[in-house]
Assembly symmetry: C2
Homo-oligomer: 306 residues x 2
């Protein structure tokens, strides 16, 4: 295995076949899952490898899709079950999905196993899955990565809050949305929740607020990133994951973990997430051009200037 084959970024998470309905249409068994969104997004910026599990019904074309985008698939295991399937519906308020069906299937067999040449990666993203398994991934790394970003969800905050807190402590950046931060730290005040994250050995705390943008806290400063004003949100599925992927991707590309660059990373990540919402599944990101990204980043500058 040559060093050139090793990804700079390892993305661990789910791969899914999603059925999603919004007021603007419906897709059935479309490519989804946290690793898919995060991996495609980070792949825009630096060499990325996926660690995930698929089922026997997972179409080969999706694996080809990642290969075509230069994303490593050696860490994708195949289960004898069907692929993890999520079915959800968004009403006219596309901020929150109604889950119609969750079939874990292959995800039940998910014990992430890193390929040898992934174990020295400098950047690691732990998508939203069982916190005990997230910790196991960290133990498999040969050295502590320069940056570990983790995600979680309300299900694990309710069922395994202590383990979630361990993951927060073990990560450099524990991504949460506002509801998750309020739930985990039992406070309605996001500033207080962020302080709790910072107390858990984190240099930065990021709280995502969907259409309202995103907050970055450090011990000394605060940054508020706006949401991009989208008139036509088609499907917000995967926005949080593509945000996470673009964030770690941008940081891996620029190799600067200072606060100033973190602010740029957040705006870049918000940009990618805003594009993701413009179409179903990974459709918008798969045809996204670099010129579109830089154009929207400069619009972000204009909309916050005073």
């Amino acid at each position: 295995m040559t060093k050139n084959n090793s990804p700079e970024i390892v993305i661990v998470g789910s791969m899914a076949l999603d059925t999603v309905e919004t007021p603007f249409g419906k897709v059935e068994n479309a490519l989804g899952g946290s690793a898919s969104y995060a991996g495609l997004a980070s792949g825009f910026f630096a060499k990325t490898g996926l660690v995930s599990i698929i089922g026997k019904d997972f179409p080969e074309k999706h694996l080809d899709f990642f290969k075509e985008h230069g994303i490593g698939i050696e860490g994708i295991e195949k289960s004898e079950k069907n692929t993890f399937h999520w079915e959800g519906k968004y009403g006219f308020d596309v901020n929150s999905a109604q889950t119609i069906k969750t079939e874990l299937n292959s995800l039940l067999d998910f014990n992430p196993k890193l390929p040898e040449h992934y174990k020295n990666a400098d950047f690691l993203f732990l998508g939203n899955f069982d916190p005990e398994k997230q910790l196991q991934v960290l133990f498999q790394m040969k050295k502590r990565p320069r940056l570990v970003v983790s995600d979680t969800m309300n299900f694990y905050i309710s069922s395994k809050p202590e383990k979630v807190l361990e993951v927060v402590k073990a990560s450099d950046i524990a991504l949460m949305n506002d509801a998750e931060a309020r739930q985990l730290f039992k406070t309605p005040n996001l500033v207080k929740a962020a302080k709790k994250i910072l107390e858990l050995d984190s240099e930065f705390a990021i709280i995502k607020k969907g259409e309202h943008g995103c907050l970055l806290f450090s011990k000394k400063s605060f940054f508020s990133a706006p949401g991009y004003p989208l008139e036509n949100v088609v499907d917000p599925t995967g926005c949080g994951d593509s945000f996470a992927g673009a964030l770690i991707g941008y940081l891996a590309k620029t190799k600067d973990l200072g606060e100033k660059n973190f602010r740029k990373a957040i705006i870049t990540a918000s940009t990618i997430a805003s594009f993701n919402a413009e179409d179903f599944s990974l459709n918008r990101l798969s045809r996204l051009k670099k010129t579109e990204i830089s154009k929207r980043i400069s619009e972000f500058k204009k909309i916050t200037k005073f």
Copy 2:
């Protein structure tokens, strides 16, 4: 009546005695009402006169308080009933109040009548009261003010949507929070709601989002103002009104209605509103210093820079 007695800004709205409970304490029959908050806030920036109604139980000291702050009280009528009384409670999520009691009392007699020397004012704020009465105030003006800012609430959007739309059309700025805009224009998408406001002859649309800040739309551009990250919100009552008052106050002081200055006005208004939330009733604003205002405005610059 000399010209010097005429206010630059006329604020029309309610005056109230509020009983408010939050997790941080309780006040009983404290000074409140949209005109009180908006008037004190606009008074920081330019000569302000109030038009409102109080009841027979309204303490004289509150009128003295406004006089001491240089705010005109000749337009405050006295009813034989008791003063409008609102009783509300905020839980740990201080974003939304639970109304325990509303006694309209004197507000039932409110037929705003402008003193003669108020009728040439260049800046008019129509607080949140019956839209038909808001329109009557406009008819009383001797000339169309340079800037008319209006406010509304869900109660009137439900009961008199057509009249609310007339007020939106007659105003230059119709202030709404996100829920009100979604309700009035029957869309979950704030960009779409703002476009509807702009179509109603408005040059700017402002949508307030509480702790998430505020959006400014024009036909050509968009501005996103962050919420100020307050760790200790004591009582958010009157934040919307003090935002409105500071907005029109800043614009009256600077006399520049261009978009660039509007952005500054919004940041200034957000600053005043953030201070208002730090204590009950008008307590924080009544002891607010100009140096504190400019210090917080410069903090707003720091938290949005990337």
